[in-house]
């Protein structure tokens, strides 16, 4: 008798993941069908013209609840430094930017190594602006250095931050999911149409992002600035020659994404994303 009970218990335990995988597979099939229909609408021009917000999100996998749990804990923590709250910065540098004033330039064969090893120390300085506008703590999560031509490097840094603004109340959401929405700063056709890349401009973007997040928090109960993307763009020499003298060649392009924790059985994520877009446009950023 006891052997039978053990057998049933073991069989049930083994069957559960198989059942979960089967259900998830069915969900993915339904998602694929729906996504293809939406894609066809976009191609045919019969969609509601809000491109990204109409395409459904892929169903979460069976193990995603592990990540979701971690994501929620990290995003709702007021002090944690993690990948769910960050400022991403792209800049262009030469080897001289990472050398000490009295330090000789390294062997050209080793310059890439110096750049990669010293990029974190260079980019941590960008945390000053983050602390001034939206954070109590800031750290370099990682850097990515790409050599471009001779003695020029594209440096991408991910700066995690602990917010100094109120994230809102997550406890009121019983069956929540994070919904992400995006807005762009200063849409432009040409690089020179973007504002000059200065610390003040970066601070202005981050301040605006926090303000919009505050308005979203008032409407939905909570809001986190998930990522402020600040990309430096360089005006080429030929184009710079055609612009007024003194034009700064480094310009700033940016995007911000917000994360809002909602019960999607109560609020549609498309509505949230449209609202974020609307706020971004109306605020002229």
């Amino acid at each position: 008798m006891s052997m039978r009970i053990i057998s049933i218990a073991v069989g049930t335990v083994m069957a559960i993941p198989m059942i979960v995988m089967t259900v998830w597979g069915a969900q993915v099939s339904m998602y694929t069908h729906e996504a293809m229909a939406v894609n066809q609408q976009i191609i045919d021009g019969t969609d509601d013209q809000s491109a990204y917000s109409t395409i459904p999100d892929i169903p979460r996998g069976p193990l995603d609840w592990l990540r979701d749990r971690r994501e929620r804990n990290e995003t709702t923590s007021a002090t944690d430094l993690n990948n769910n709250r960050k400022v991403t910065i792209v800049e262009y540098h030469t080897i001289s930017d990472v050398m000490q004033p009295d330090e000789a330039l390294p062997n050209p064969a080793y310059q890439d190594v110096f750049m990669a090893a010293r990029a974190p120390g260079l980019m941590i300085n960008a945390c000053e602006n983050v602390l001034r506008t939206m954070a109590t703590k800031c750290d370099v999560l990682g850097t990515d250095v790409t050599p471009i031509g001779t003695n020029l490097y594209r440096v991408r840094a991910y700066l995690a931050y602990a917010p100094d603004y109120d994230l809102g109340d997550f406890s009121t959401v019983a069956n929540g999911d994070f919904v992400n929405g995006y807005t762009s700063f200063a849409e432009a056709g040409y690089i020179h149409e973007y504002p000059a890349d200065t610390p003040e401009q970066r601070a202005a973007y981050m301040t605006q992002a926090v303000e919009i997040c505050g308005r979203l928090r008032a409407e939905y109960g909570n809001c986190t600035v998930a990522n402020v993307q600040l990309d430096q763009r360089i005006i080429g020499d030929d184009d710079l020659a055609k612009l007024p003298p003194g034009t700064q060649p480094e310009r700033l392009e940016g995007q911000v994404s917000y994360a809002i924790f909602v019960d999607e059985t109560q609020i549609d994520r498309k509505q949230i994303r449209s609202r974020i877009e609307e706020l971004g446009l109306h605020d002229g950023i």
Binding site: L81, N107, Y110, D112, A117, A119, C127, D139, T143, D144
Partner: protein
């Protein structure tokens, strides 16, 4: 009637029998309440006879073990197939306050798991030529099974047998080689890779910088320090060349298009090695030359670059010293052993016998080089097969076709370039030999352990210098708003 003594005696006897029977029954009853209760519950008439083979527990246990093994095995391989990023995001703790406390020189370590050389079957026919491992020996006519039929006092070269000495010479900066003199005999050896491991490590500053850059990038992208490896460039390989042709001074042309190679020459008595010219992709060397032997070398990575698995010329002109091969279908032809035929490309045969990956490879090799003027041509040519371009360069440079007097295994540990000797020729071990290497920024000799330790030290020192003298700088401390 009641007074009949016989009847009364009979009745008394019956009564005694009955009493005795009841007394026996009483004696068999279990004593005590509990025992009696147990007996009332039990309907067991005795243990049923169970044959040994009816015990199913062992069988069931084996079945369950099999089920768990299959499920566990599938789960393990599924886990292995998961992308690393996905696993890391699932399994690791949130990246919190990494203040660089874990980054130190002591964190850089390396443990060697062992790298056996001479892997694979001793002899294998491929459509790109025979692939031979020690002790098989490649010859002009085919192969021998045992190098000791040719080499006396043979010792296998390993990556732990350092040479007696190393000298260096400057490789050719021009895309050309000295032509064989009229009195010299060209011995033309061309292969993909040598099968043995060389006891030498060579690399440039650029290669060292690239290796450490890759490491530093990996660390700073995720702020995770991991093991530093003792590798900078592909490990050098080695091959024994036994020379027995005494008919004329030899002009040895040694070519490969895999890794850097040490060509270990063993000339028989009476052989004269006039000149050794080598064409290899990376730094290579020649051991066992004679006192008057001259050396030159082309490192074809100086004149060509790789793209999608192919070498393409840096310039559109006629410099294309990249060794190419025609396909060899020895095992598809009905020929006896030791009589391989070198055929032209047999596309139809390939399509019949080869799988999709080989067909893709053949297609890639047949696409040719665009925008090229093979040596000796004045006009731009349509997409030209690599072999044709290489052969044009060969003819222009050396005055003969690329398959002239050719010995061409795909891979070999030992090669006999010349007639089979009547008696084995002396095999000179590496420890008694000087290697003439192309110049490079770093050339290390020694046992594998010492070379690896030296490379690790070089990489660690460069990383430390790049990090400003402290590995903790790779992960600077977080900034905080000062608390009032």
């Amino acid at each position: 009637m009641a007074d009949d003594p016989g009847q009364m005696e009979f009745a008394a006897r019956l009564r005694r029998i009955e009493e005795r029977r009841l007394a026996d029954l009483e004696a068999q009853q279990p004593k005590g309440r509990r025992a009696r209760k147990a007996q009332e519950k039990s309907y067991d008439l005795g243990p049923a006879p169970v044959a040994r083979g009816d015990d199913v527990r062992l069988r069931n246990g084996i079945i369950w073990a099999g089920i768990f093994a299959v499920v566990g095995g599938a789960g393990f391989y599924g886990y292995k197939q998961m992308p690393e990023d996905y696993l890391a995001s699932l399994m690791t703790m949130p990246s919190g306050d990494a203040s660089g406390a874990g980054f130190s020189a002591a964190s850089l370590s390396w443990s060697r798991s062992g790298s056996p050389q001479n892997r694979g079957p001793v002899r294998e026919e491929t459509t790109w030529g025979p692939s031979l491992n020690s002790p098989a020996l490649m010859t002009i006519d085919g192969y021998e099974n045992d190098v000791q039929a040719v080499a006396a006092h043979f010792t296998l070269m390993t990556d732990d047998t350092p040479p007696a000495a190393i000298t260096t010479f400057a490789r050719n900066s021009d895309c050309t080689l000295r032509r064989p003199a009229a009195h010299e005999k060209l011995v033309n050896i061309r292969m993909d890779d040598a099968a043995l491991r060389a006891p030498v490590t060579a690399f440039s500053e650029g290669e060292l910088g690239q290796a450490v850059f890759n490491y530093a990038s990996a660390v700073t992208e995720r702020m995770r320090l991991h093991d530093l490896t003792p590798y900078v460039a592909p490990e050098m390989r080695a091959v024994d060349i036994y020379l027995t042709d005494t008919s004329a001074p030899l002009y040895l042309l040694l070519q490969n298009n895999g890794d850097g190679t040490v060509w270990n020459l063993h000339p028989a008595p009476g052989v004269t090695i006039a000149h050794v010219a080598s064409i290899t992709p990376y730094t290579s060397g020649v051991a066992g030359g004679q006192a008057d032997t001259t050396y030159e070398a082309i490192r074809f990575a100086d004149f060509a670059y790789t793209s999608d698995g192919k070498w393409l010329p840096n310039e559109e002109g006629g410099c294309y010293p990249v060794p190419q091969r025609t396909r060899y279908d020895g095992w598809t032809d009905a020929v006896p052993d030791n009589e391989p035929e070198r055929d032209a490309i047999q596309t139809q045969v390939a399509e019949e016998i080869a799988g999709i990956s080989f067909r893709n490879d053949l297609t890639k090799r047949s696409e040719g080089i665009n925008f090229v003027r093979p040596a000796g041509q004045t006009d731009w040519q349509p997409p030209t097969p690599e072999y044709v371009v290489y052969d044009a360069w060969f003819r222009t440079t050396l005055g003969v076709s690329a398959d002239f007097n050719l010995i061409s295994p795909r891979r070999a540990a030992h090669i006999l370039a010349g007639p089979m000797p009547t008696t084995p020729i002396p095999h000179r071990p590496m420890a008694e030999t000087t290697i003439h290497m192309m110049q490079d920024d770093y050339i290390l000799a020694g046992t594998l352990e010492t070379r690896e330790a030296e490379v690790l030290t070089m990489k660690a020192d460069l990383l430390l210098l790049a990090a400003g003298g402290d590995l903790a700088n790779l992960d600077p401390a977080p900034m905080e708003v000062p608390t009032q």
